[in-house]
Amino acid sequence: MRGGLWRFCVSLFVLGFVVNVLGVVGHVVVSSFAKRWFATVFPPALTSEWYAYAWHEFQLDQVLGVTLVVAGAVTLGALLLGFPAAYLLARHDFPGKGALLLLFFLPLLIPQMTYGIPLATTLYRYRIGGTIGGVIAANLVPMLPLAVFVLLPFLEQISVSLEWAARVHGASRAHVFRRIVLPLARPGLLTAGLLVLVNTVANFELTFLLSGAGSQTLVVALYYAVFAAGMRPIYAVDAMAVIYMALVLLVLLLALRFVRPTQMVFRLDHRS
């Protein structure tokens, strides 16, 4: 009987939390369509004009362009650099492997604000800070390890004997890579790519520290808009927030369409 009451209370808490999340997100969506909204349950009149206003006032075409360039470049870079590293880590044991894994793990563990400030300082010193290139370079620091750790379990699943068999039958190394490893690794590359993509679009701290006037991604532009609340109508800021939300959810849905979360068990310690 007491167990039943306990379960009921926990269910109530979860329901409350879910309602709270939906309320937080829903409030932004409703507000973006409101003509005026002041202390009523629902705005008296609806409009979609704030979207055109936000698009124009916040120069969202330019901001979206930067966001897509940054996200695309970071994804490509993380996969190009990360794939060979993940392949080696999945296939071979060698001295210093633990230290290597630690080096890859630290940028994911340490909060971006902590290493972002020295990183930003360094990049501004070499005049890379404030440019799109600087934003891409900084975002690669956590995204490259992310790609490696997502790819690792996928590559471990590819049997080494397939590669040996191909070699025995006379295939060259390049041939084995192109015809055996790459096709089998495709689900992993897709998963890692989409996860890096959605993380880069939503990544705030490093982009914020490194971006200048022309190199803000959507989430950073949104931050400045919220920060300067009162400069522009809140409905327009919320319209921008909804556009950001739509972009993230689009990539996320795409990811969930292809990615099976059960495949993504990070295995850092094989032996324990």
Binding site: F13, V24, S31, L103, I110, P111, Q112, A229
Partner: protein, 280 residues
């Protein structure tokens, strides 16, 4: 030959991660006035306005981490055998993680704001003058909880549901009451996982920046260490000082991590219950 595979990414991380970090520490020891000294650290720690940020950050990070992990353990433990509408609940939980701090902050400003739905609900419920929930300490606490509870819960759910159910059944058969089963059987098995979750959530909470600015009171009650570091770097252009503050922040995070991992080492079941995530 093999080294060529991993070398590019290692070099990248050495240049972009290890070098800036090392240079940051080096620069923090060379204040603007010149020479080699700990003047930056002394200036930061002796200036009450700056040193207060440490206390402010700790007074946000510690309570909210304890609350988040405690509730996540309770909920994950209760739901270890699955729940109704699990897919819908998980989707709603993933939403704040995916959307990120800035959007959640803007949503909280609306939803919990003076004219938001939550305050309207309180008014309907008969609370005459609801207290302010945004742009103060409470706002930051709400934002951090909304952000990190789902993360912590999903992580612990995987861990707890991975514990072999026959252990629990055996304890029940031998006559243990539900509390005893939790205290004597499950808790020792999941404690190392809870410690890791606690460490991760604490480190994230201690570095709080966007929420502290957008839902908090960045000039006063919620001026955290991260804000102080940002201001030193981009408002006063004092890079050595900014690096010193970042080092202090990293040091606090590391200290918290070390304490928790030390406690974890002393737990009896460390390494016993490392079952894969979510094998239900």
């Amino acid at each position: 030959m093999k080294a060529l595979f991993v070398l590019p990414s290692v070099i990248y991380l050495l240049i972009m991660f290890v070098y800036p970090f090392g240079y940051g520490i080096f620069a923090s020891l060379h204040p603007k006035s010149g020479g080699f000294s700990v003047a930056n650290y002394a200036a930061f720690l002796l200036d009450p306005w700056q040193a207060r940020t440490l206390w402010v950050t700790a007074s946000i990070a510690v309570p909210i981490t304890v609350l988040t992990v405690l509730l996540a353990v309770v909920v994950a433990y209760t739901m270890r055998r699955g729940i109704r509408f699990e897919r819908a609940v998980t989707t709603a939980l993933v939403l704040p993680i995916a959307l990120g701090t800035v959007l959640v902050a803007e949503g909280i400003n609306g939803f919990y704001g003076p004219k938001g739905w939550f305050n309207q609900l309180l008014l309907v419920a008969g609370v005459a003058e609801p207290s302010r929930l945004t742009h103060n300490y409470t706002g930051v606490m709400i934002a951090l909880f909304v952000q990190h509870f789902p993360f912590c819960f999903l992580m612990l759910l995987g861990y707890i549901s991975g514990v072999d159910p026959t252990l629990e059944q055996s304890a029940r058969v031998l006559g243990a009451r539900p509390w005893a089963v939790f205290r004597r059987v499950l808790w020792p098995l999941i404690a190392p996982g809870v410690a890791v979750a606690f460490a991760l959530v604490f480190v994230m909470n201690f570095g709080v920046f966007p929420s502290a600015v957008l839902v908090g009171q960045p000039a006063g009650a919620t001026r955290t260490v991260a804000i102080a570091a940002y201001q030193a770097a981009f408002e006063h252009y004092d890079m050595p000082m900014a690096s010193a503050i970042a080092v202090v922040m990293g040091g606090c995070q590391l200290a918290g991590l070390a304490v928790i991992l030390f406690l974890r080492q002393r737990m009896p079941a460390t390494g016993v219950a490392t079952v894969g995530a979510g094998k239900r």
